[in-house]
């Protein structure tokens, strides 16, 4: 509903980041729940691939914005949202067992590393917090425009 009203071209990208962080929390919580399960291998989402997709999306959004401004000097830049479904395929949000992992495999076949899991969880949580603050700022801005007062 708010897509055409996106206050900034970055809003849809921030939404993708928030979605990714949410999914990753799910996977990391599963790793902690299975910390004693024999044979369980720690899983994760493809973070570096996601970052690459994000960088591509930012570049595309920039080029689209400048083009829109050139064609329509008074146009609202946010009205040209990049096609995000191609840039963020569902496979980016699927957990996998990374080939290279920190820690050692224990006798029960589990490669638990609770420090690593909590480090990643903390980073993920801070990242999500940061993105949500940015989104909140953008919606506050939109709210201010609608209400015609800051």
């Amino acid at each position: 509903m708010l897509q055409p009203l996106s206050p900034q071209p970055s809003t849809p990208l921030l939404k993708q980041v928030a979605r990714f962080a949410e999914r990753r929390q799910d996977v990391l919580a599963g790793n902690i729940a299975n910390i004693d399960t024999p044979g369980y291998r720690m899983r994760d989402l493809p973070t570096s691939e996601f970052r690459q997709a994000l960088a591509r999306a930012v570049a595309q959004s920039k080029s689209l914005t400048s083009e829109a401004e050139r064609l329509q000097p008074l146009g609202f830049p946010g009205t040209v949202p990049p096609a995000l479904d191609d840039l963020f395929p569902e496979s980016l949000f699927q957990a996998r067992t990374p080939l290279e992992q920190p820690g050692i495999t224990f006798q029960d076949g589990n490669n638990r590393s609770i420090e690593h899991q909590f480090l990643e969880m903390t980073k993920n949580s801070l990242w999500q917090h940061f993105v949500l603050e940015l989104l909140r700022g953008q919606y506050d801005q939109l709210q201010a425009v609608i209400a015609e007062r800051p």
């Binding site: 928030a18 962080a21 949410e22 999914r23 929390q25 799910d26 996977v27 990391l28 919580a29 599963g30 790793n31 902690i32 729940a33 299975n34 910390i35 004693d36 399960t37 024999p38 369980y40 899983r43 949000f93 699927q94 957990a95 996998r96 609770i114 909590f118 969880m121 903390t122 949580s125 999500q128 917090h129 949500l132 989104l135 909140r136 919606y139 506050d140 709210q143």
Partner: protein
């Protein structure tokens, strides 16, 4: 997002079940007859953990854990020479349960820490959910 809490909750439940069985093992570490009054040493219980994929069939998401109680039938009972014991056999030996209290305590420590880890994960998920709600103002 709320499903993440369910995953951590499954971890909490599994570790609590482990603590339950450990407490039972320690409580029965000298039990020499079964619940029917027959002479049979208590057999140590242990918890078998298994990763549980999402019930909705979403492959590639976080996994919960399921726990089941099993009986340790492989470890032999501890034989103690005590001819005066009413449950002693013909050689004067009493079969005590196959419970090693030190092993139980080590497992109890592990279960406690894993329980705490799940609690911390839950706390962090909670903070993330609260952050999401704040967007709405």
């Amino acid at each position: 997002m709320f499903r993440t809490l369910d995953i951590s909750a499954s971890g909490l439940a599994a570790q609590r079940l482990r603590m339950d069985t450990i407490a039972g093992n320690i409580a029965n570490s000298h039990t020499t007859q079964n619940e029917d009054g027959k002479v049979e040493p208590f057999q140590r219980r242990l918890v078998v953990l298994q990763a549980q994929p999402d019930s909705s069939g979403h492959e590639g998401q976080g996994m919960g854990v399921t726990a089941e109680v099993d009986i340790d039938k492989k470890t032999p009972p501890r034989l103690v020479h005590a001819p005066g014991h009413p449950h002693a056999d013909a050689n004067g030996n009493v079969a005590y349960p196959n419970v090693n209290v030190i092993t139980e305590f080590v497992n109890a420590m592990e279960a406690t820490r894993a329980y705490e880890a799940n609690l911390t994960a839950m706390q962090m998920t909670r903070e993330m959910i609260e952050g999401t709600f704040k967007i709405l103002g």
